[in-house]
Symmetry: none
Subunit: 249 residues, 2 copies
DNA sequence: GTAATTCCTGCATAAAAACGCAGAAACCGG
DNA sequence: CCGGTTTCTGCGTTTTTATGCAGGAATTAC
């Protein structure tokens, strides 16, 4: 087999599977590992693959998945934020959790909106503060440095005293069977309280998180009134939620 | 599984869920905890995640900071902050108001200090959050967009429930005859509550504000235990305060 | 406080890479 | 077709890398 031919084959494999192992290539093509290594090196120098210890990766693997500066999947989250804004009207009391999706919602609020926003998430509160017309209520308590929200019994007690018109939950994982789940015990306690207090519960989730599960349960899907993703409501992936009686946007 | 591949997976998980545990990752990917830890360490060095005890956090909304516009008389305020820090010891409950002098205090806190800091000022709270060892309690209520602090009866009620060891007040105007005065009614209400609750009241003021008066009265000088300025305690301008029984630093 | 995790350091091992070399194959100008 | 040159390939050796393991220190949780 010719060198060029071999390299073309390797390139094809990389693009097909996003990854190749030197070891498997050399048995497939029946050449020594050195040859494969030299081929990969050449391809890497030409920028056609990314060489790593043990094999090579396709370009798409490495670059795309990592947002340098901003938010992961920001465009999807912007879409979600726009849909969510449609549910808010003037004069409403809106309770929100934290998370990057909610941040996106906060940034996208139309300037003329007059409503009251309540949250315990510091980054989200900062966004709300920039808005000219909304009132901002901050839920106080001990601050969790990890999640940048106030956590504890005081915060939960405060939430339970309220009866907001609508509640937006940034979601970590959602599944038809297990409902909303999360990975931080304190955050879960807060979200539970938020769900209990609110007249209407809206769950914001990028499609990637649908049908994933985390260790701690927040609520079952029965407790959710509306589910918003960046997908169109007719998408098959959302059908189980529609069937369960959730309004999907 | 290739190392890069694994790291890409980890990064993806972090971006998706904002937080990962080393323990759960190592069962998911089926490698030893050491490997996961080394991966997280590398990713952290590349600035792609933030490593914490037991796992890692997403970078996305973790470095919140307030736009800090040039602080007026910063050097004097640094001097004041240094003097104020001398009054804080490990284990104390410290209540603080807002204002740039307090900001300077927050920034200057020694990293090894372990204490609990309480405030309703968003910019100050953000500074406290950057500190590795202090606990931060946020007083919640409606946010005043002007002064960036929480104001209202809930906030005042919360303060009244506490009995902090010491209270640091950033001062707008102080005068031997009229005591501490200010120009924002809501802020004054809060400061009054803070003074009432605290075992010890420390007033931080740059010399420029001494012997000035604002329209609304916070308290008389009898209520002040300690006065800190950038001047030496022997300075003639401070003599009236010494004579009034205030400890001047 | 004490117990349980988690972290770090050094080390051992196995896998992979780099290097030099030599034989084989391809190329090329006559 | 042929000698000379270049390129390619495989092999053995040395280096580097990746990973796991054991212990003691540090941190966190109860």
């Amino acid at each position: 087999m010719l060198k060029k031919e071999r390299q073309a084959y390797i390139l094809h494999q990389v693009n097909l599977h996003n990854k190749v192992l030197s070891s498997s290539l050399c048995t497939e093509i029946n050449v020594s590992e050195d040859t494969i290594r030299r081929d990969l090196q050449e391809l890497a120098e030409e920028g056609k693959v990314i060489k790593v210890h043990g094999g090579a990766l396709s370009h798409s693997f490495n670059d795309v998945s990592f947002p340098v500066n901003g938010v992961y999947s920001q465009n999807q989250k912007k879409t979600i934020a726009q849909k969510a804004i449609g549910l808010i009207s003037n004069g409403m009391f809106v309770l929100t959790s934290g998370g990057t999706t909610i941040m996106e919602l906060a940034r996208s609020l139309p300037p003329q909106l007059k409503a009251t926003f309540i949250s315990g998430s510091i980054p989200v509160i900062l966004e709300y503060m920039h808005h000219p017309n909304i009132e901002v209520i901050l839920i106080g308590d001990k601050i969790s440095k990890n999640s940048k929200i106030t956590v504890g019994s005081e915060a939960i007690a405060k939430i339970k005293q309220m009866k907001p018109d609508i509640c937006f939950l940034g979601t970590n994982a959602i599944d038809v069977e297990h409902g909303i789940t999360d990975n931080d015990w304190e955050v879960v306690q807060l979200k539970k309280a938020m769900i209990d207090s609110s007249k209407k519960v809206v769950c914001l989730s990028i499609a990637e998180k649908i049908n994933t599960v985390q260790p701690i349960r927040v609520c079952g899907i029965d407790d959710i009134d509306v589910l918003i993703t960046e997908l169109s409501p007719g998408n098959p992936v959302l059908k189980p939620f529609v069937d369960a009686g959730i309004k999907v946007l």
